[in-house]
């Protein structure tokens, strides 16, 4: 019999029951909540007279529409200018208070983007099943945890039953071997993967990243990778547990301690695919061949290396694809065959659950140090992923580097990734963003998003157009 994949092992360890029709009940160890997708679930519980099954499995924080300016944050929830956002944040506070759910409120020193704080606080542990009403829950798979996004009805289901009705997915392996070139990061790997397999390439699959290039990544890089599994269509991204994982988790506030820690580590060492495990699909990439990536269109699969030219629809044979390219170029205000390096930027956004952790900010600061944001760039925002990330960056002086270069230094939240708060693009503006989605209107109606790594975003900010960050890293400012 073939061995098990990591996904198979996690599935088996959480299987409560399997129905004859193939559906199953999976036990959920950790449920993360935020203000946008939870209010209707709590309301549903209340209307049905139900109580949460296991309070201590839940952890909440407001992130999607919290303001990121210090002035607005200082006044607390009551000072949130947008009344609709204010009600939503207040409703999360009220619901968590009513049910006794642990919440890191807006100005708590542990607050941040839900996918940043879970790992940071040790609420995310290897071997867990983790769900959240947010598609980027795939991030937590970097820890060898089975983690994915769910809808609001399922949020209510998990609150009420501690289980999820699930169907088993197929297994997809992405193997990346070799060494990344300097200046090329996890973000470039994942954009290259999406460019290769497409935004529906992982649909119906749990996607495991493996290979020497993945093993060499830090936990933060691995989180960036798994975060965007959903942009390849896979709800689940996974990476096997190794010393890097265990070293990261050790000592986190909610991580096990003492004898429990020793027991946990022994169990976590099993969290890898068996050498003879069978995958339904395998895709292989050469790390050394990956260049810094820039998305040019309105889907994350519309992505190219920095030295490329945007496509010409006339050269595409398939009519649906040709239409999609033509429509994307028109929306993005680009000419067929235009060089990526000729795309000029109006705004730059460094942040989001994809790239707002300390290593991301260090990479961006290394480029920004001693340089200035180009005069043609109207705004360059740096939004740390959490309060602890912000404090760490300030302790290292990164905030001063950014401010000296002309960036704005903000308070933690999702911010301009999806522009639910006041941070957004105006129609027609081009933005170099370290976030995860370049859909039409994602960062503001009519806004034009280009997905890049933090270093590439900083390079675009100082040059006013896209540039291969490796050129800047080679020359001192």
């Amino acid at each position: 019999m073939a061995g098990k994949t990591l996904y198979d092992k996690l599935w088996d360890a959480h299987l409560v029951r399997e129905n004859p029709d193939g559906s199953a009940l999976l036990y959920i160890d950790r449920h993360l909540l935020h203000e946008v997708t939870s209010p209707q679930a709590f309301e549903g519980l209340r209307l049905a007279g139900r109580k949460p099954w296991r309070i201590d499995a839940n952890l909440a924080t407001p992130d999607h529409n919290v303001p990121t300016t210090l002035v607005e944050r200082r006044g607390g929830v009551a000072a949130i200018a947008d009344p609709v956002s204010r009600v939503q944040v207040q409703t999360l506070d009220d619901n968590c208070a009513e049910y006794g759910i642990l919440e890191y409120r807006m100005n708590d020193p542990r607050q941040g983007i839900v996918h940043v704080i879970g790992p940071e606080q040790g609420a995310t542990l290897p071997g867990m099943t983790i769900v959240c009403g947010d598609s980027h829950t795939s991030t937590h798979g970097a820890f060898g945890a089975l983690a994915h996004g769910i809808g609001t009805s399922e949020v209510e289901h998990v609150l009420a039953t501690q289980c999820l009705i699930a169907q088993k997915m197929k297994n997809l392996l992405i193997r990346v071997e070799g060494e990344l070139a300097p200046g090329v990061s996890a973000k470039d790997i994942v954009l290259a993967v999406i460019g290769r397999i497409g935004t529906a390439g992982g649909t119906g699959h749990a996607l495991e990243f493996a290979g020497s290039a993945i093993r060499a990544l830090s936990m933060e890089g691995r989180m960036t990778l798994c975060n965007m599994a959903i942009e390849a269509g896979a709800r689940v991204g996974l990476i096997a547990v190794d010393d890097t994982t265990i070293d990261y988790v050790q000592g986190r506030p909610l991580a096990p301690k003492g004898a429990l820690w020793e027991q946990a580590v022994a169990s976590w060492r099993e969290l890898h695919s068996d050498p003879d495990a069978c995958f339904d699909k395998v895709v292989e990439l050469d790390a050394a061949a990956i260049k810094p990536q820039v998305s040019w269109g309105t889907s994350p699969e519309m992505v190219l290396p920095i030295d490329a030219r945007v496509p010409d629809p006339a050269a595409e044979a398939d009519p649906t694809r040709r239409d999609a390219i033509a429509r994307a170029l028109q929306y993005m205000g680009l000419q067929p065959s235009q060089a990526i390096t000729d795309i000029r930027l109006d705004r730059v956004f460094i942040g989001s659950c994809t790239n707002s952790r300390i290593e991301d900010l260090r990479a961006a600061a290394a480029v920004a140090r001693g340089r200035r944001v180009a005069a043609s760039v109207k705004q360059a925002l740096v939004v740390p992923g959490s309060m602890p990330v912000k404090r760490q960056a300030e302790a290292e002086g990164l905030d001063r580097i950014f401010i000296a270069a002309g960036f704005e230094w903000r308070e933690p939240g999702c911010s301009m990734c999806l522009a639910m708060n006041a941070d957004r693009l105006e129609a027609g503006e081009h933005c170099a963003a370290t976030s995860n989605r370049n859909f039409e209107g994602r960062q503001g109606a009519g806004g034009r998003t280009h997905l890049v790594s933090p270093a590439m975003a900083a390079a675009a900010a100082v040059c006013g157009h896209f540039v291969d960050v490796r050129e800047l890293l080679e020359q001192a400012p």
């Binding site: 409560v16 997708t37 209707q40 296991r54 009805s153 709800r235 649906t320 109606a445």
Partner: protein, 218 residues
């Protein structure tokens, strides 16, 4: 949840691949703490010429005459036809809520994103996957015949055209059962509460670090 058994209705063709949830219902409308009120903002950026904000009276907003759902011949459509990877992007259940409230009972496409697909079943909205050549036929038929209607029967898992020919579709047995009978799946799961408790006790014994306040296993 409302049941879905049979449905006969007008078809609207949205000839695009990768229709994402940000297009289905833009983020500014997700600030609501209610489950209703999203219908008027379905496909907001395509449907209206101005920028949509919560609290507007959508009846007063300028419609984009180019957008397919604004064409008089598709008024009252209840079956949406689209291309591959419909519903990609975020987990927002506001997307099926908005489609449902607009009046759609089914979406036919060559493929769907996983989370969106799952969310549809929780809301009595039937996502139907047909082969690319079948979807091509339906696009052609819809464009060629004003007032083009289809008849969907969940029990027999078929989409019937007016000439009586049918396209078969697959649906997972459990989801079909819930949808046919309009069952609340939390209620169904709680019928297994004893099993869940037994699993939980075993899981705790094996992985005590996952439960705050546990002691190490002996």
């Amino acid at each position: 949840m409302k049941a879905f058994t049979r449905h006969e209705g007008l078809v609207a063709p949205l000839d695009r691949a990768n229709v994402d949830t940000d297009q289905i219902i833009p983020k500014q409308f997700l600030k609501s703490i209610r489950r209703t009120g999203f219908g008027p903002n379905l496909f907001d950026e395509w449907r209206y010429l101005d920028v949509g904000e919560p609290g507007q009276d959508c009846a007063q907003r300028p419609l984009n005459p180019e957008f397919v759902l604004n064409q008089p011949r598709y008024r009252g459509a209840s079956i949406l036809l689209a291309r591959e990877n419909f519903g990609c992007g975020s987990s927002r259940e506001h997307a099926p809520w908005a489609l449902d409230e607009y009046g759609f009972r089914a979406v036919i496409a060559t493929s769907f994103a996983d989370i969106f697909f799952n969310n549809c079943f929780k809301n009595g909205l039937l996502p139907i996957v047909l082969k690319a050549e079948e979807v091509d036929v339906l696009f052609r038929d819809t464009l060629a015949n004003p007032g083009y209607r289809l008849s969907i029967d969940l029990a027999s898992q078929t989409v019937a055209r007016s000439d009586g020919s049918t396209f078969a579709f697959a649906v997972d047995a459990f989801r079909k059962h819930c949808l046919l009978h309009g069952l609340d799946d939390i209620g169904l799961t709680l019928e297994h509460a004893e099993e869940i408790r037994a699993f939980e006790a075993q899981h705790r014994a094996r992985h005590p670090w996952l439960f705050p306040g546990s002691s190490p296993a002996p």
